[in-house]
Amino acid sequence: MAIASGSMSTVREDRIMKRVFLSPAVIILLALSIFPLLWSLGISFTDMQRGGSTIARQAASQGITEGVGFLGMGFELTGRNYQRLLVDGRLHSTVRNTMFYVFLGVAIQYVIGLGLATVLNQPFRGRNIVRVIFLMPMMMTPVAAAYTGRMFFDSNPLRSPLADFLRDFGKLLGLERGISVPWFTDTGWAPIAIIIIDAWQWIPFMTLILLAGMQAIPDDIYEAARVDGANILQIFWRVTVPILLPISLTVILIRGLEIFKIIDVVVVTTGGGPGSATESLTLYIFEQALSNGNYGYASAIAYVLLVLVIIFATIFLALGRRWIRGSVERGE
């Protein structure tokens, strides 16, 4: 760098400025991300609850207020939270639900997003305005999208345009009473409704990024494929899809990690029901922590979620690297 030839003061200035630039971000992340992360790991090994802990309450009932528990800090160190994880049936169903949301949700969003990106990559009149329209759902707060979804998935055809349509459509097919789907009252359909709402909102994100990826593909590649006599479908499968593989893995990973966090849509549409058929992990943690005040157990579950997220990301990145290498070796 040319700066190296500058005066001594420039070098010293740089040594200071280098820290000035990076420190605020690092300090905030250490204080608000890393510290809470380690702290909640600690809490997950205690019996801490809102307003004290089990052992502190027992002691208080006997009139002892000081010197209770681990090092006299008023709580007990315990592995019970982690034992409880193994036998908590509700937790197991929330894990299942969350995985279902992640895998089915990402698959639907990717396939439709890729399709729409392909469409938007074609020249046609009004493309710019259409591209903006396609983005709109992404800007809605998920809570509002969820309420809108609730209006549509109401199974009463007097209230919901979707139920009205399905009834008429069913009659058209010759079914006497039309099609009626018990969206939010059936344990099988309720998770599907939630996946559809989330997909409606986030398909634009997939579309946007995949479209940008497609537009970065140089035209010569298409031209070469065309000269070789490939038809449209072949070009799509052999040229577009393989070139988009890295960016596809990125968006799938981002959306997958986001769906792991799902809570707002579930709260507004079903509140976790019927039973716990739609309850997500984040919602369960929230309830354990804030409704029940079980800080220790909530932290232990949160660590389960963190481990799931890390496993998902690691496997996915490892597979992704192999796929990309594979498609390079095949010469695609």
């Binding site: 200035e13 740089d14 400025m17 630039f21 971000a25 690092v26 992340l29 809470p36 992360l37 909640s40 392909t118 469409v119 938007l120 074609q122 020249p123 046609f124 591209r131 903006v132 329209i133 983005l135 709109m136 992404m138 800007m139 809605m140 707060t141 998920p142 509002a144 309420y147 809108t148 209006m151 549509f152 055809p157 007097l158 209230r159 409606w200 946007l208 990024i209 990826g213 537009q215 970065a216 140089p218 298409y222 031209e223 065309r226 449209i232 070009i235 577009t240 960016i247 990690l257 809570i263 707002d264 709260v267 992990l281 984040t282 929230f286 922590a289 804030l290 909530a298 979620l305 997220v309």
Partner: protein
């Protein structure tokens, strides 16, 4: 970036007729899927309750008589509440946006122009940048308990400051990531010649680098704003009256007076419209920001 977008067909004229028909069919269908829910929100917000429950009524003046009552209610009897929640959303979103942009731009610049080495961890710039972006993908559920305890300790519950701090923390990783990419694409010559002319690092950053980075800064600002504006979990957790934001207000409509779809629709539109207007005006920045790093990957 090339935006010719010729895609599968070389020219529009070479596309077969069935291709065009299919294309427009898909476009129209998806526009309907996207726009009809918005249409439904707008019409529901001007329906009488009876028209909502005895319907479905599709077209105003034909199927039902639109009434302005719910909007009047929102800006009349409910005015104080509407304004307060709207203001809360605005203050916490703008506050955290400003902080994220400033801190993100600084760290992004540092990671782009200096060489760091964290000896004990053996981390260089790439490791540090990856560590920062990885914070964005931690599940927020893991922060629920420690944040409640911390915020109680520092009396930050139900304050603007509390929300701003939390949202800034969530927005910084993305801000750093986008800005670092942006600065990497910016030639260093201009800064260097300014420094030869006697400008300090900081002076060159403020007067030369930042003005050139306006598109990146705008992209970061949009994302930070939309995230904070739409966020639900932490707003629910960290507020209880004074600082409640629009998403929490909307979600809470569930249990106050039974579900008043017409009022919820009006509130929802209230919350969505500012973001959509901003999004439409700044759409090209969104694309550029989101794809800055992704396309190269």
């Amino acid at each position: 970036m090339r935006t010719t977008g010729k895609g599968l067909f070389r020219r529009r004229s070479r596309r077969p007729l069935w291709g065009s028909a299919l294309l427009y069919a898909i476009v129209v269908f998806w526009c309907f899927i996207v726009l009809f829910p918005f249409y439904w929100l707008v019409t529901t917000s001007v329906k009488r309750p009876i028209d909502v429950s005895r319907g479905p009524n599709y077209i105003p003046y034909v199927d039902f008589q639109p009434i302005p009552d719910h909007w009047e209610e929102m800006f009349g009897t409910q005015r104080e509440s509407t304004e307060r929640h709207f203001r809360n959303s605005l203050v916490s979103a703008i506050g955290s946006t400003i902080l994220s942009v400033v801190i993100g731009a600084m760290a992004g610049y540092g990671l782009s122009r200096f060489r760091y080495y964290w000896g004990r961890l053996g981390w260089d710039n790439d490791n540090i940048a990856f560590w920062i972006i990885s914070q964005r993908f931690l599940p927020p559920a893991i922060f629920i308990v420690p944040f409640v305890l911390l915020y109680n300790f520092f009396s930050l519950i139900d304050t603007y400051g509390g929300l701003i701090i939390a949202y800034t923390m969530f927005n910084i990783p993305f801000a750093v990531w986008i800005m670092r990419d942006f600065f990497n694409g910016l030639p260093v010559d201009l800064e260097e010649s300014a420094r030869v002319d006697g400008a300090t690092r900081w002076g060159a950053f403020i007067r030369i680098v930042l003005p050139l980075s306006a598109p990146g800064l705008v992209a970061v600002a949009i994302f930070s704003f939309i995230f904070a504006w739409n966020e639900y979990l932490f707003a629910l957790m960290l507020t209880n009256f004074n600082a409640i934001t629009m998403p929490v207000l909307i979600a809470g409509q569930n249990n106050t007076r039974g579900i008043e779809w017409w009022f919820i629709s009006a509130l929802t539109l209230m919350a969505v419209v500012p973001v959509i207007i901003m999004g439409l005006l700044l759409e090209r920045f969104i694309t550029r920001g989101l794809t800055a790093g992704a396309v190269k990957g």
